[in-house]
């Protein structure tokens, strides 16, 4: 018996259409692209040189020459924000990457295996969690020397238990569902089930946690730079700029406002992007223009 069916082909254009009609994805996408572009442009060109100190021009208010004003060493804030974008974004992004890359598999493993594996993984997590993050980061950078790279590693390590916990909690809620039982009855092993059924169902959770951790990563980098263990001067970073501005809030508010805005806009953009991706990935929102 041969049956002829009119089988519709899968349509990836659908997802693209969906992506570019999704308002939060689009807004987040544009913001993220702009921020990334600014960071890239700073490699080739900035309005002023951020390494030259011109004391005569210190703490100037925003003007046509210096759009965002100057800091207490006479450096142009706009230029510093552009260059700082590189460090801040790189540190936060890689730190989230490390946390996700190691934490999510660990959490998924703990949920899939249960028993002694779960116990061991989660207790190790607790151990890392139990240390005050900033203190341990200071310890790590004290041992391996200060610098952006060590800051990334230190912040990344403290992201691992966060993602492991979220992944495990999410996965534990998926495992007892009937469709997992159906997949097992179809002969699929734990790894395959985790990849095909568990992770796609907790991806929203992880994306939201990812954007939160990204914002925290920028702040953590700022904290490390403040105590002199993160980005080394004269390289600016958003966090450093904020802390420099702290004591001059009344005299030169622009020194705090503009780097702060940069952080807010970046985090907002990534949040919207994450929200949009989660929306697009959710089949229930598809085909409902």
């Amino acid at each position: 018996m041969t049956l002829r069916f009119d089988i519709p082909e899968e349509n990836f254009a659908d997802i693209l259409v969906k992506a570019f009609t999704n308002r939060s994805f689009l807004t987040g996408f544009v913001i993220t692209i702009v921020v990334a572009a600014v960071a890239i442009v700073s490699f080739f060109w900035t309005p002023f040189d951020v390494t030259r100190l011109i004391i005569a021009e210190k703490t100037q208010a925003p003007s046509p020459a210096h759009w965002f004003g100057t800091d207490h060493f006479g450096r142009d804030i706009l230029s510093m924000i552009m260059v700082g974008a590189r460090n801040s974004i790189a540190v936060a992004l890689v730190a989230v990457g490390i946390g996700m890359g190691v934490g999510v598999p660990l959490g998924a493993l703990a949920a899939a295996r249960g028993g002694i594996v779960d116990e061991v993984v989660m207790r190790l997590n607790d151990l890392v969690f139990a240390f005050p993050a900033l203190l341990s980061a200071i310890m790590i950078t004290a041992i391996f020397g200060p610098g952006a790279l060590n800051a990334i590693i230190a912040i990344g390590i403290f992201n691992i238990p966060v993602f492991a916990r979220v992944a495990r909690a999410g996965a534990l809620a998926i495992w007892p569902r009937e469709f997992i039982l159906a997949a097992r009855a179809a002969g699929k092993g734990r790894t395959l089930i985790t990849l095909e059924h568990v992770l796609p169902n907790i991806v929203t959770l992880l994306l939201v946690q990812g954007t939160i951790q990204f914002a925290l990563g920028i702040l953590a980098e700022a904290g490390l730079s403040y105590v002199g263990l993160g980005t080394q001067p004269p390289m600016p970073s958003w966090g450093r700029m904020l802390f420099d501005a702290q004591t001059r809030m009344v005299a030169a508010p622009w020194m705090a406002v503009f780097p702060g805005m940069a952080i807010v806009v970046t985090v907002l953009g990534l949040n919207l992007l994450g929200d949009g991706i989660a929306d697009i990935l959710d089949p229930k929102s598809r085909r409902q223009r």
């Binding site: 009119d6 009937e178 009855a185 002969g187 959710d282």
Partner: protein, 547 residues
């Protein structure tokens, strides 16, 4: 004069009309049955009477309860009515109680709130009420928590809460749907007694015609938010003047047409020499007991106790028992999803117990499963093509993408769905369609055995009839054997040749379906048969009562 009078009730949520010109009345001491399929507006009607509607709902018409215009009443007036003069019993006893409060507190809560009685007085009344619903003080002190009770016991607590202040009207929304037939009969008896004692009006909402016929003097049949037919229960259902009434009644007692070729397994010499497809030998499954302290555990709980049986190729066997009797545990072991504590299971002559997942692959090809919940048994993130094609994973030669799409298309066609559906997601299907998807997934590898765990108990009667037909048709066409797990005897009667009755982890009776159901021998079987609601019997009894 009626206690509750609903006149020309129309309701919209946003722009969607939910109810249209619904008319209904309940007199004191009367049981009114409200019947309809899911989405017909039964529960919304009940919630309108309680004024517990969603914010976006707009209701017009008149709802009069005991002289009060419900739709115009203030929120304070409604708060005084709810739980005092109108009580409500919900479907799901597992979630209707607050898990962190004792049953005593929960029953006393309403009494204290409405009567301003002291704690001691309220607890005293709560105690009396719990005694009344069959939860005596010796076993069920007020200090018990909901998780310490079974489903039927929890539903008794819910009824105690609803009836604690002797309401004039009780609304019971599918009060027994989550319970097995024996518990259902007990709860219905209790409700009937409470109605008689207090001359309480009862609005009984159910999708089960047989249950309503046993309980209600009058019946209202709802469909798409409109009343199709209303009137005396016995007359309405015996005359079946309205086409929809006829359709519902027929669907409730539907038996798929199937030639009894496999029914003669024992008598047919050809089949007798054939090796059994599935052979279960003295299988036992213990679950570790509750941890009492760091080192001490309670005695293990024996879920399945020394069970042996076999199923021949193409045979359709029902496994019937009350909830918690071990049916599902047994099914999981048959499917090699759970290992027995002792005993062996053979499938096609090969032992499948204690094997690794890789060794099980050949067996997995030939056995599949259909679950009860059409909503929970599909990954919401994947398309139908992947979901229905999932079992193809165990094939020796993995099909190419095109082959896979062909096979999925064919399976969808066989269960009455369109091949176009394969690019949809599960949420785009109705409950009945999802159960068809579930069956398509189960037959795609052409298995020899399908284990179906309560496959129709979550479905409406008309859809249930269609799915039973589909099972019967596939049994015949593909020669697939079924192990049908159910607590519903009508389902067993409709679809199976043999029936096994399970009780407390043991199989206590086995035989031809019709023989066991007509002449049950064991206590457990007798209890199940006696408790099972039967539409024809119920109508006959009502007609007889009326002379």
């Amino acid at each position: 004069m009626s206690l509750l009078e609903i006149e020309k009730l129309s309701l919209t949520i946003g722009d969607t009309p939910i109810l249209r010109d619904v008319e209904l009345s309940v007199a004191p001491g009367e049981v009114m049955g409200l019947v309809g399929e899911s989405g017909s507006g039964k529960s919304i009607t009940a919630l309108t009477v309680m004024r517990l509607l969603p914010w976006a709902a707009r209701a017009t018409g008149h709802v009069t309860f005991d002289g009060i215009d419900i739709l115009a009443a203030s929120e304070d007036q409604m708060c005084a009515l709810r739980g005092d003069d109108i009580g409500m019993v919900f479907q799901e006893p597992m979630t209707a109680l607050n898990p962190v409060k004792t049953i005593g507190e929960q029953v006393a809560e309403g009494i204290r709130w409405h009567t301003r009685a002291s704690r001691a007085d309220a607890e005293d009344r709560a105690r009396k009420m719990l005694d009344r619903v069959g939860l005596p003080a010796a076993q069920f002190p007020l200090s018990r928590y909901p998780h310490e009770l079974s489903g039927g016991q929890r539903q008794r607590v819910v009824i105690a809460i609803a009836c604690a202040l002797k309401p004039k009207l009780l609304i019971a929304d599918e009060p027994t749907t989550a319970l097995d037939v024996v518990l259902q009969a007990q709860i219905l008896d209790l409700l009937r007694d409470l109605v008689a004692e207090n001359r309480m009006g009862l609005l009984l909402i159910s999708h089960d015609l047989a249950v309503v016929t046993e309980m209600a003097e009058r019946i209202t049949i709802l469909r798409h938010g409109e009343v199709m037919e209303a009137g005396d229960t016995a007359r309405t259902l015996s005359e079946q003047l309205h086409p929809y009434t006829r359709q519902l009644a027929q669907a409730s007692t539907h038996v798929p047409a199937r030639p009894r070729t496999h029914a003669v397994g024992q008598d047919n010499p050809l089949l007798q020499v054939a090796k059994p497809l599935l052979q279960v030998d003295s299988v036992t499954r213990d679950y570790p007991g509750r941890r009492k302290s760091l080192l001490k555990r309670a005695a293990p709980i024996r879920a399945v106790d020394d069970v042996s049986f076999s199923i021949d190729p193409g045979q359709s066997v029902a496994l019937v028992g009350r909830s918690g009797c071990g049916k599902s545990t047994l099914a999981r072991m048959v499917l090699a999803l759970d290992g027995p504590t002792s005993g062996t299971i053979r499938f096609r002559g090969q032992v499948i117990t204690g094997k690794s997942e890789a060794e099980l692959k050949p067996a997995r090809r030939d056995m599949q499963v259909v679950f009860q919940d059409p909503y929970g048994s599909f990954d919401p993130r994947q398309k139908v093509e992947k979901l229905v094609g999932e079992p193809l994973h165990v094939l020796e030669n993995k099909p190419t993408n095109t082959e896979r799409r062909e096979m999925v298309a064919k399976a969808l066609h066989e269960v009455g769905l369109s091949p176009r559906d394969m690019d949809k997601y599960p949420h785009e299907f109705s409950g009945g369609q999802r159960q068809r998807l579930s069956i398509a997934r189960a037959i795609i590898t052409r298995p020899k055995l399908v284990v179906a765990d309560e496959p129709v108990s979550a479905l409406d009667v008309s859809i249930r009839a269609q799915i039973l037909d589909l099972f019967a048709e596939l049994n015949q066409k593909l020669g697939v054997a079924y192990l049908f797990i159910t607590h519903d005897l009508t389902v067993a009667r409709a679809i199976t040749d043999q029936v096994m009755i399970m009780h407390d982890g043991k199989i206590v009776e086995r035989g031809r379906t019709s023989e066991v159901l007509d002449h049950p021998q064991s206590e457990a079987a007798k209890a199940l048969v006696a408790a099972a609601p039967d539409l024809h019997r119920a109508i006959a009894r009502r007609l007889q009562e009326q002379g």
